[in-house]
Symmetry: C2
Subunit: 466 residues, 2 copies
């Protein structure tokens, strides 16, 4: 379709010949995390909000579906495109437009990467308040469209809480722009909330005003080995009480994940030299003026060791050692590679339920088929568990049964089947199976109200008959 | 209508005879902040979610509009009811249902007051993360429906950021319940965001799961007199850098407001004894473990006095003195009473714009008519200004011109015409005049999608032709 696509001349007129890729040029592009992201065979790269609007309006007139593309690091297939659709990349809208240091806000285009934003505001002692391993590729627009979470959510919320103002191109090419830069703004329905987390199915994010936080430099980073989840809860209660705003990260790695991560990175950085424990927490505390944070942390850890809440610990003594500890957690694609087949999940549940849930999950999987290993890690204080299930027998054919086992108890526990990766294509069936009664029907009503022809990233999150 | 209302028997059957007030019994009820809140002449008091659903379903079948009532402390007329409508009070759904100390969440019914919730969780060292002067009457459901802000928003967000799970009764009486208790929950459109801040026009909040924060005890409270807004910005930049998570409050009072507040409270508590200054900040810092917060604060203030950022200051030496300082700020209905007529506004703008905005506003009002005083106060770090305009000549007849003057420049500055009080009835015209292009049409589409018969709190926020 792409090479002889009748839309090509009109698209090239709107964004310039160098702003359209199709045909053989597609093969030269990086498809990103999902192999089918470039399935449309046609990618448009507008350079301005006006060009985005013009492209979307053209597609609307031509009844062509539009699939927005950011950094293509999404894990749920939200950027997958099919022949006949038009992939619209925001990567050329990547300018940091205006920083307000007094108000601690930033106006930025959707295609800027998180890393670029972090760098731009760090020079002013500020931080976007969100951080995640894909910072180098994930774009602001993608973070907003997927309501990204990451490492700092327990402190500063998910992306939804970072957005003060938003500009979106609607299904018919209209630009809806509400770029207010204030936290308190109760002027009717907060429409931006609809677009945040909608994965591009209601409109395309083009610009945003982000709320910034004071930049906090890490003062102490430690890997702790713990005897179990009860100890982790007790330790975290104390950490939150004593260091509520110095806590930069509390990342979880269960034994299976940690051992596999250490093996995977062995050639690169050797072993950490920590005792074998059921679970590990990677904890980072921020510097705080006159307070001797490393000393306060050491005192807390000393007491926790005495009380048996912590079994062993390694304090990073250098930036190199700190980076090595972080790599164990952030290089999460490596662990589990020793298995012939793997499946990945991203769930959340109330903190106290994590331990019991994992116990029940392992029992359930054992009942299903022996030999399925659960590598668990994630953002502990968000109750956000990432699960890599590995087996030497093929898992994909048993995907449905395994998935049912992973998701079964979450709703009853007050948890979620998709914590931060969203629904996209891959979790549509799971959402349909586990959503609260009435949710899909309400979502369809919203979809029809904003995109009646179902042209915005169709088939993502829900199936919308036109 | 009410005494012979044909719906009375059916309503009494659903909620019991003691759950319906009409006729002369209405005169015995407190109408709350707005005199017309009880205009319907009929109030129903369900005791359970099921009863709320049954009442709404009955009203839907009978094509009767429903006006939800919480603590009736709203300032924009969102609870005003008219003959023929049914006021539905949530005040009997006031139970604190389940506290999860590890997960720091609370399941609570909509009719519980903020004060009751604060008390219930304080016993566990936790705090709802939101606080405002109307804490004794404002209910959780009302706070959610109006996306309340208050004193702590700069730290913990507005009510929108406090809600993890939400249950709502929809226009047809269906209960939509998504009471997940996790921060990360990306499972399709985040529908609860629609109901938060919608002032009851899309559904009635019945239960919520709130996110809690560690309770922070105040360690130092001071009233500072400053030479102007530049000094306030410089001081706050330092406070945010050095005490980001110990800052409990940074409340603003301009000279005119402060002087009037002191006079109004003179008989009650005497003068504070602080120098006459263009503006005042009431600052409160939290205790923090080993750190000597009063000493750190005194050092910061000493430096600020030396640099001329602060002209004078009074540190509260007792709980009585602390309460007296807070009363100056929270008893905000008293200041301005010396004027024959008053108008109130609630706006927000980027921090650095507050000073210039007030200068321009005063010039604009002088151009309109001399002798209009501007008493400005509010939540400084949110850029949230409350304005009491006072004059000895009638202001109400000039309301439109005055309002135009107050709102004119806000959108251009990235601010908001309604920071935390919402739109209700009173600000509908202002919203229509100042909303971003396309916003009202998008809001109408959402309203039609969720409440096609326009039975939920009709005429609030926007006029919806049925």
């Amino acid at each position: 379709m792409s090479q002889t696509d009748p839309l090509l001349p009109a698209l090239a007129e709107l964004v310039g010949a160098d702003g359209v890729r199709s045909g053989e040029a597609i093969a030269l592009l990086d498809p990103g995390w999902h192999p089918d992201n470039l399935g449309a065979g046609l990618v448009v790269y507008p350079r301005s909000v006006e060009e985005v609007a013009a492209v979307v309006a053209l597609c609307h007139r031509s009844r062509r579906a539009v699939v927005p593309h950011g950094g293509l690091s999404g894990l749920a297939g939200g950027a997958v495109s099919r022949p006949g659709e038009v992939a619209l990349s925001l990567r050329r809208l990547d300018r940091v437009l205006a920083l307000d240091p007094a108000g601690a806000t930033l106006l930025v285009e959707a295609g800027a990467t998180l890393e670029a934003v972090q760098a731009a505001v760090a020079a002013h002692g500020l931080d976007p308040g969100i951080d995640l391993a894909a910072r180098g590729s994930a774009t602001i627009g993608g973070l907003i469209a997927t309501n990204a979470g990451g490492i700092r959510a327990f402190r500063h919320g998910t992306m939804r809480q970072r957005v003060l103002g938003l500009e979106t191109v609607l299904a018919d090419g209209t630009v809806y722009s509400d770029l207010a830069g204030v936290l308190k703004n109760n002027t009717g329905y907060d429409l931006k909330q609809l677009f945040i987390g909608a994965e591009g199915t209601l409109g395309i994010v083009t610009r945003a005003v982000l709320r910034l936080e004071p930049l906090q430099a890490p003062a102490a980073t430690a890997l702790l080995g713990l005897p179990g989840f009860d100890a982790a809860l007790a330790l975290c209660a104390r950490l939150r009480r004593e260091h509520p705003a110095r806590l930069l990260a509390v990342e979880l790695m269960e034994r299976g994940y940690f051992a596999s991560a250490e093996r995977a990175l062995a050639a690169h950085q050797g072993a950490v030299g920590i005792a074998d424990c059921p679970l590990y927490l990677l904890i980072e505390l921020a510097a705080d003026g006159a307070l001797d944070v490393p000393e306060a942390f050491a005192a807390l850890l000393g007491a926790a060791l005495d009380q048996g809440l912590v079994t062993d610990c390694v304090l990073a003594q250098s930036e190199t050692q700190r980076a090595a500890l972080w790599r164990l957690r952030e290089d999460s694609d490596a662990p589990g590679r020793e298995f012939a087949d793997r499946l990945h999940f991203d769930v959340s549940l109330p903190l106290a339920q994590i331990g019991p849930y994992l116990g029940r999950l392992r029992a359930g999987l054992d009942g299903l088929a022996p030999g399925i290993a659960v590598l668990a890690y994630g953002h502990f204080l968000d109750g956000n568990l990432h699960l890599t299930l590995g087996a030497d027998e093929p898992l994909v054919p048993r995907h449905e049964a395994v998935e049912a086992c992973v998701y079964a108890s979450l709703a009853g526990l007050g948890g979620s089947i998709s914590a931060e990766h969203g629904i996209g294509l891959d979790k549509k069936a799971a959402l349909a199976a586990h959503a609260p009664p009435g949710k899909l029907e309400l979502m369809r009503r919203i979809k029809r109200a904003l995109d009646p022809e179902a042209l915005m990233n169709p088939g993502k999150i829900l199936d919308t008959p036109v």
